[in-house]
C-alpha cells in the first residue's frame, strides 16, 4: 500500500516538477519531497534496504523527482546488452567521490557556464573558458558537455568531460533552459547568438525552484548549413524562409509514428522504478555534499570579516 503511494508521488511529482520547471511563473512554491520515513515496525522478513525496503516496513528514502533533471548522468546507458548492476553501482560510488572534491552544479543546454581547467601550455597553468552549453550527453564517468563561444570572430567549441580530474572549477553563470534539447544550430546562426564575454559574472537566481526558459528565436545565416534544420522540428529558431519544396521533402522523410512507438521510448530510457532506486541510493550523499558547500559559502564571507 505504502509502495503504491510512494510510486505515485514520485511519478506525479515527475510530471509536476517538469511543468513547474518549465513555467516561468514565480508564484509556484518550491516542491521539495521530504524523505518518507515510516516507523520501524517489527518485520518478519528483514529484506535488504535496496530491494523491498518499503514492503518490509523499514525506512524508505525517496529522492526528490527533480534529481532526474539535475543529475541525468547518474542514469546508466539504457542498452540492455551492456547493463550490469554491480558495475553501475561501483561507477556511482566513484562519481560521488569526485563530486565530493569539486562542485558539479546543475545545468541544462542553454546555460552559460565557465570552466577552469589545468593546462600546462597556458601562462598561469589554468585555462578558463566561458560559453553556452549546446549539448550534453554520456552517462556515468563519461558524462560530457560542449561549451560554445565566439572568440575574435572565430567560433570555438570545447567538449569537457565532467569527471575529468584536470577540471578545477565549473561555474554556472546563468542557469536557464532553451526551447530545444540540443543547440547545435548555433553553428549556423548569426555569431551574436553565441558570443558571451569572458568577464561575465554569475547572475543570481530569482527563484530557486524554477529554471526559467529562454523563449528566444535565433536567426540563422543564409544557406548552406551544416545540417538540414528544416527536418528537425526546432522550436528555438526563427522562420527559415526556405522554398516550399524543402518542407515538402521534409514531410516525406519525416517519421511521425515515432512519437507513438512505446517500445522505442522504452528502449531509450531507464524505467521509473529503477530510476527511483538509483536516486534513492545517491540522494543522501549528494544532499550532504550540497549542505557542506552551502555552510562553507556562508562561513567564507563571514570568516573574512
Amino acid at each position: 500500500m505504502l509502495r503504491r503511494v510512494v510510486l505515485q508521488t514520485f511519478r506525479q511529482g515527475l510530471a509536476q516538477s517538469f511543468f513547474k520547471r518549465n513555467a516561468a511563473s514565480l508564484s509556484e512554491s518550491a516542491v521539495t519531497q521530504h524523505p518518507i520515513e515510516t516507523s520501524e515496525e517489527a518485520s518478519e522478513k528483514s529484506g535488504s534496504k535496496q530491494k523491498n525496503g518499503d514492503e518490509s516496513g523499514n525506512t524508505v528514502v525517496v529522492a526528490p523527482p527533480e534529481f532526474r533533471f539535475m543529475y541525468p548522468e547518474f542514469l546508466p546507458d539504457p542498452t540492455m546488452e551492456r547493463r550490469n548492476k554491480l558495475k553501475e553501482k561501483l561507477e556511482r560510488m566513484d562519481m560521488l567521490q569526485r563530486r565530493s572534491i569539486i562542485e558539479i552544479p546543475e545545468f541544462y543546454t542553454g546555460s552559460i557556464m565557465a570552466v577552469t581547467v589545468a593546462d600546462s601550455n597556458s601562462p598561469n597553468k589554468f585555462a578558463r573558458f566561458v560559453g553556452i552549453c549546446i549539448q550534453r550527453g554520456g552517462s556515468g564517468l563519461q558524462a560530457w558537455f560542449i561549451l560554445r563561444n565566439v572568440v575574435d570572430r572565430q567560433g570555438v567549441e570545447i567538449l569537457y568531460e565532467m569527471y575529468c580530474p584536470l577540471i578545477q572549477k565549473i561555474e554556472v553563470l546563468r542557469l536557464e533552459r532553451r526551447l530545444d534539447e540540443s543547440l547545435l544550430y548555433l553553428r549556423d546562426a548569426l555569431p551574436e547568438y553565441s558570443t558571451f564575454p569572458f568577464e561575465m559574472e554569475a547572475e543570481r537566481r530569482l527563484n530557486n525552484s524554477v529554471v526559467p526558459i529562454n523563449p528566444i528565436k535565433v536567426k540563422l545565416r543564409p544557406r548552406p548549413w551544416l545540417e538540414r534544420w528544416e527536418r528537425q522540428n526546432l522550436q528555438g529558431v526563427e522562420d527559415l524562409n526556405l522554398p516550399q519544396r524543402y518542407y515538402d521533402r521534409a514531410k516525406e522523410v519525416a517519421k511521425p509514428w515515432e512519437k507513438y512507438d512505446l517500445m522505442l521510448q522504452y528502449r531509450k530510457t531507464i524505467p521509473a522504478e529503477e530510476q527511483e532506486k538509483i536516486y534513492a541510493e545517491v540522494h543522501s550523499q549528494l544532499q550532504q555534499q550540497d549542505l557542506k558547500r552551502k555552510i562553507k559559502r556562508r562561513r567564507g564571507p563571514s570568516s573574512e570579516q
Binding site: 546488452e81 551492456r82 550490469n84 554491480l86 558495475k87 561501483l90 561507477e91 566513484d94 567521490q97 569526485r98 565530493s100 572534491i101 569539486i102 589545468a118 593546462d119 600546462s120 597553468k125 589554468f126 556515468g140 564517468l141 563519461q142 568531460e161 569527471y163 575529468c164 580530474p165 584536470l166 577540471i167 578545477q168
Partner: protein, 355 residues
Amino acid sequence: MSTLQSLNGSPFLLGFLFNHEQVRNMSRVKRRNTHPGYWLPLKNVQKKDDKISADNLRFVREVIQDKYKNKSPLKGSELQIEKTEWDPKTKRSGVIARNIGRQQMWDKAGNKIVCTVLHVLDNHVIRYIPPEEYVKTSRGAIHFKNKTPLGCLVVGAEATNPEKFTRQYCNLFSEVGLLPKKTLSRFIITPNAALPPCTPITAGHFLVGQAVDVYGKTIDHGFQGVVKRWGFKGGPASHGATKFHRRGGTIGTGRDKARVWPGTKMPGHMGSERRYNRGLMIMRINMKYNVIYVKGTVPGATNSMVRIFDTLLPLRKLKEAPPHPTYFPPEEGTQKEEDIWDSSLHVYGSPSISV
C-alpha cells in the same frame, strides 16, 4: 613453361602471383566448437515439466537445503595448505571472472585510461589432478607429449540451484561438498601451487600492477558476409553496378588447378572464437566487491565469462612473489585496504590535478 614450373615452389613468386598458402592456413584451422565433448557428463536438465505437486516440490527443496546446509565455504585457517615457496617458474592457478563492462579512469598526468571491469565470481577449487594422473588422460597426453607433465586444477564459479542440473553434474561437486557451479575451468599449474578442494579464490589472488592474460570467446557476430568477415572492399555503390555491392567477386582462377582452393575466404560464421589478450596490466582491485580493473579490452561481450591468469609474456612476467598459492584475507575479519589503486592512477577522492 619450364621456368614457371621451376619457380612454382618459390614462396616469393607464389606470394607475388596469389597468396594461397597463407589464406589456406588461416581459414582451415578449426575455429570453434559448438558442442561439448561426448565424454563429459550431461549438464542441464533436459525435461523441465516435471508433473509433481506443490507439496512434493517443497519437500524436494527441503532435501536440497539439508544436503548443502552444513557445507559453507571454508576459510583459509581451516584448510590444510602446505607452505610452498614461489619461484619465477611456478605456474599459479587462474580465476574465472565475468566481464561487466568498461570504466574510464585518469592517470596523474590527466590522460584517460579505459579499463575493463572484471568481476571475480565465487571461485572454488573443485579438484586437483596431480601430474602423473593428468598425463594419463587424453587431454593431458596431448598437452605434455614431449614435455615434463604439470598438474591440473579444476576451478568452478557461480554457485546455482541444483535443480537446474542433472544428477551426474551435481555429483562432481557433492563429493567435495559444494553447491553445483555454473562454469568450470581447468588451469595448468606446477605441483607447488596446488590447492585443496573447497579453497575460495578471490580478486586478491592478483597484485595491482601485475600483467595478466585474459582468455575469452569473442563476440558472436553470426553468419556474416565477406565484407565484414574478411574486410573485402565489395563493389561500387553506384555507377551502374548491377547487384554487386557487398559480394566477394572471383573465387579462383580458371587455369592452374581449376577448382576452389580449400580455405578460400567466403561468407560464414564469424566470432565466438577462443582468443587471448595478453599482457594486460591490472590497474585497480576492489577487495570488497571482488572486482579487478584491467587496462585495455578483453575478448567477448559484456556479461560474458573470461579466465584470468598470470601472463606468459617473458618481459611482463611476475618478478616478485604474488600471493602464493592464493590469497587469504587476514584472520581478524576486516582488511587494511578495501580498494587498491595503481600508483600512477588518480584516485577519485583526491584533489584535482594541477599541472
